[in-house]
Symmetry: C2
Subunit: 175 residues, 2 copies
């Protein structure tokens, strides 16, 4: 039992689904249950269209705006960083560059990747699922019955879904 | 000549000074000149009293607020990260954890550290200097004449100060 996997080996579980299916809400509900069980969780979110993190006028923004490739801001309790990306990093690259001292990475917003996926599916919003048979989908979260090709969990079955994540993604590790 | 020093060996230059002496402004002026000369610069800023980086309601904030130890947000051009810090990291620890692919780290807001320092001094704001003889102060930026114990540069002598930084901090490296 190895509490901290070697760097580069922290497992990634991707939460996918079409727009407005509740991906962020699912992640928000999974994290506290995983943390309660003793797991250390990081998240990676991909925004194709960019994002705003630092605030205009703040010192960190002034450093970055003056041409720094990377600005780190630290307090005794927290660290934040804004960096130029030379290209669109993969999830595994982002994990290897920045994530450490956690047991699991939950990723949101990466459509194509080789990591196991949980798809959030709401047929009343989108009639077709996002994942095809080659997309490494290991479970579906949906209120609707589905063909039993992969395990299905209801949106409120958080403990059962965490059991499943422990069994299939974190297997062997101890929190 | 090694363009990229080994990790952990990226030189740190600390910009120090009492409050309202113009530390951030100096950093804002140094960076473009260093970048123009081909150097890749990162900054590290310490805020003893904390800071706000992510925005309430945003997905990254929701992930972090749900209990993630670390949230990475990525776009094709930019990466940002907010992480819990188990303790008040030193500059060298922050550099080794997060900074890569740059030639120089300019740090602001760390009072006590073993790295070379440039002190911004405005006697009309504070009559006493911050750095004592054991504080590794390698230069002073001030409009006022000073005892010639260390080199002095005027606030507008940015090219001369960059020459000095290249000579004393980046010595031997080529941009």
């Amino acid at each position: 039992m190895n509490k901290t996997p070697e760097r580069g080996e922290i497992p990634i579980l991707s939460i996918v689904g079409k727009s407005n299916t509740g991906k962020t809400t699912l992640i928000e509900r999974l994290i506290p249950e995983l943390v309660r069980r003793g797991w250390r969780v990081a998240t990676i979110k991909h925004n194709r269209h960019g994002f705003q993190m630092d605030h205009e006028g703040k010192d960190s923004w002034r450093h970055k705006n003056a041409g720094a490739r990377m600005t780190v801001v630290a307090s005794p309790q927290k660290v934040a960083l804004v960096a130029d990306a030379p290209r669109d990093y993969t999830m595994a690259e982002l994990r290897d560059l920045y994530v450490r001292d956690v047991d699991l990475v939950l990723a949101e917003g990466f459509k194509k990747n080789p990591h196991p996926k949980i798809e959030v599916f709401r047929p009343e919003v989108h009639s077709e699922r996002l994942c095809g048979p080659d997309d490494h989908c290991v479970a579906v979260v949906s209120e609707s019955p589905l063909p039993p090709a992969v395990p299905r969990f209801g949106p409120d079955d958080i403990p059962a879904l965490c059991d499943f994540i422990e069994r299939t993604i974190l297997r062997g590790a101890a929190p």
